[in-house]
């Protein structure tokens, strides 16, 4: 069994980005359920994986995609409604609006959005994203760059206003 102190440390560091990552496929409480399932599986391990962060994100990705494939028809209506759910903490001090960022991010192509979420909020390098998604490094960089460009174009006015 894994040390509970290590589990607490991993939970504090990765739980929120993992839920945000799972929201790329699952809506509502399903994303949190997927993350919880992955953490429970991690606790049941005899010894921790070598790279806990990579293990967690890979497990959440597999869990979310598996759940999405089995029920995406049923949850299509729920996914459409989920565009209004909150993805970020609304503190008010950010240069861009949290709800606008979430809505803009939700409208991005999936590959672009995945690269942006993993690079910015999970703190992964492009090489780690490439290993996780099985996509070539150059393709990952292209997705990330296109995602950033689209976000900047769609929220440029807001960024400029906030920066002023």
């Amino acid at each position: 069994m894994i040390d509970p102190a290590d589990v607490t440390r991993w939970f504090e560091a990765h739980a929120a980005p993992l839920v945000l990552y799972a929201r790329q496929w699952l809506a509502g409480g399903l994303a949190e359920d997927a993350v919880q399932e992955v953490f429970v599986r991690l606790i049941a391990q005899r010894r921790p994986p070598d790279n806990v962060k990579a293990w967690l994100f890979r497990a959440v990705r597999n869990e979310a995609i598996s759940h999405w494939r089995s029920s995406h028809r049923r949850d299509e209506r729920e996914r459409r409604l989920a565009t209004n759910e909150r993805w970020f903490e609304p503190s008010g001090a950010e240069p861009i609006d949290a709800q606008t960022a979430a809505e803009t991010l939700h409208r991005l192509p999936h590959d672009w959005r995945e690269a942006v979420v993993l690079r910015i909020w999970a703190g992964m390098t492009l090489q780690e994203i490439s290993d996780l998604t099985g996509t070539p490094l150059s393709t990952v960089f292209h997705h990330y760059r296109e995602g950033l460009r689209a976000l900047r174009e769609k929220m440029g006015v807001t960024c400029e206003k906030k920066n002023d």
Partner: protein, 168 residues
């Protein structure tokens, strides 16, 4: 080339602006995760024991269904007999054992025990014939009456008995 160096200023600015956003924390806590993990571990243990019990039960049923018939092995067994002392007194012998003994039943003699044994063994027909009563018997007539001389003495005694009532 590092990936950051390939981004232009606008992209890097957008990256920094997005980094300031904090994803929402999940609603569950670590304690819930630990509790759920412990519950599942116990559940797995229960299922493991159920599996073991089911396997044992299945093996038992299969062994009962497919067991080979019992093989009879004949072996000579030598037992040294020892006189056994009965703690209880032997029951009294009944008379029927001796009554069926033909030697006893056909034992000669007319004493009581011999007659009793024969009657019990052979029935009432084995009783000896009764002796005739000791009545006076008339003398046997060997010749026709016309040819015999008249029994004067007997006639006289009979006549006297009829005439005088046997007082002579």
């Amino acid at each position: 080339m590092r990936e950051e160096e390939r981004l232009n200023d606008g992209e890097r600015e957008a990256e920094e602006a997005l980094t300031a956003l904090r994803p929402i924390r999940p609603a569950f806590e670590v304690s819930r995760l630990m509790f759920e993990a412990a519950r599942r571990a116990n559940q797995r243990q229960v299922w493991a024991w159920r599996g073991i019990a089911a396997a044992l039960a299945g093996g038992l049923v299969l062994s009962l269904v497919f067991r080979s018939p019992a093989r009879v092995v004949e072996k000579p067994v030598y037992v040294q007999s020892t006189p056994r002392e009965s703690p209880l007194p032997s029951p009294p012998r009944v008379a029927t054992a001796s009554l069926l003994d033909p030697d006893v039943a056909l034992r000669g003699g007319n004493d009581y025990l011999a007659v009793r044994d024969r009657v019990l063994a052979l029935g009432i027909r084995s009783l000896p014939r009764a002796q005739p009563a000791a009545w006076p018997v008339a003398p046997a007539i060997s010749a026709p009456i016309e040819q015999q001389p008249p029994p004067t003495d007997s006639i006289h005694r009979l006549f006297d008995a009829m005439q005088f009532g046997g007082r002579s």
